[in-house]
Structures are given as structure tokens and as C-alpha cells.
Symmetry: C2
Subunit: 94 residues, 2 copies
DNA sequence: TTGATATGCAAGCTCCCACTTGCGTATCAT
DNA sequence: ATGATACGCAAGTGGGAGCTTGCATATCAA
């Protein structure tokens, strides 16, 4: 559970989640490309790979290997758990 | 916006939010006491004070001064924004 | 098999974050 | 005014996170 918050505490990892939420099932190289093209991110391949490992350990990304490629899928469940931990409607203030 | 994720990436700060969500409007000393009593946390007063400053900068906690006491209130809005950024029902997988 | 592709592992470096420590300030009771 | 209470500021320290670098592994095409 604490891995989720640590994983989300990084701008590059949040951008990766945005990108996977838009186009699911990308490989590492595809993610590296789209991060450089569409978003202004220009990190190395190893950096992105380590970011994906952190996201996977947190349960925010699931992976599937086919051949020499590894496809990545966004899993929104851990984020829904965050919203359930601090629901907005417990108090009546503001 | 990135301050919210950084603020949530700390076990003590998350416990403070839990505590304020349960009993809103506590002072710094009250928070120090309840953290030690109910939860197993035993941080110094200065540490808790700095944690509250981080939470306030992120918009997760609002404060109100009366006399020499400062009362702290939990604001769930930034967390609702997180849930809105990655909604669960965008895809049909899982 | 050879070479290219796609990814993984591990050590080292730098920098930021949480915590401590010491002092300072404002408010209240006596 | 004096002391006690409740909190704030700022410098210093230790540990962890992200990034790089270099090498290793596995898959596919020729």
C-alpha cells in the first residue's frame, strides 16, 4: 500500500501512467518514444525501465511478455483504494 | 499538484490525515499525543510540525489560529482530484 | 551462427527528504 | 513583569531515491 504513494511521487512515473491510460499495452521502447514526443520527457531507457518496475511493484502496472517484447497495462485499482481511504463526504465543511 | 503526491508519500503524514479525518480541528500538541497513543507513532513535536507544514502547502490541511493555539482541518479535495485524473472506468479490462 | 533487437541486473554517484538541535516569538496566567 | 505554554525558524546530519554506466541475457532475422 505504501508502495503506491511512493510510485505516484514522481513526475515521470505519473506521466507514464497518463500515457498508458491513453494507449494501453505499450512496450518499453514505445513508452520511451511517446514520452519524448508528446510529453517533454527525455529520460534514458534504463531510467524508464526502473520507473516501470516501481509502478509494477505498486500494482499500478501489469506486464505481459511476448517474445522479446514486454507489454505494459495500466491498473487503476490502487488509485481507487486511495480515494476510498479518505472519502470526501465524511464531513460537512467546505 | 505535485506537492500533493509528495505529501502523501510519507507514512507519518498519512497517519496524520487519518487522525484529522477522524477528529478534525486538533492542535499540534493534540496531534502529537493522539499519534503516540492510538497509532504507534512517536515523532518529536518539531517533526510533526514540519509534516503539518508539508500537508498545508499541499492543500490537504487548512489551519486556523486562535490565541497561541493552531487548529488543523483535513481538506479532502486534492485527493478527489487524484481519483479524477485516473478514473477506473476508462477501459474495460480486468 | 552471426548480428541486431528488446530488456534485465548491479554498482556507483548525486541530491533531496526527514529528523534533530538550538534558539526565537507570541500568548496566557499569576 | 515573570514564568509557562504553544508554536516557528534555521542550520546540520544520515539515509534513501533517481539516474547513469557497463555488462549480461534472451529473442528474432539473415
Amino acid at each position: 500500500m505504501s508502495d503506491v504513494f511512493r510510485a505516484l511521487d514522481d513526475e515521470t512515473r505519473r506521466t507514464i501512467l497518463d500515457e498508458l491510460a491513453a494507449r494501453d499495452g505499450q512496450t518499453l521502447f514505445e513508452i520511451c518514444s511517446t514520452l519524448t514526443m508528446r510529453h517533454g520527457v527525455s529520460s534514458s531507457r534504463q531510467a524508464i525501465s526502473q520507473h516501470l518496475a516501481v509502478l509494477e511493484a505498486a500494482g499500478l502496472v501489469a506486464t505481459e511478455r511476448r517474445g522479446r517484447s514486454k507489454f505494459h497495462y495500466f491498473k487503476p485499482e490502487p488509485i481507487a483504494e486511495i480515494a476510498r481511504r479518505w472519502p470526501p463526504g465524511k464531513r460537512i465543511d467546505q
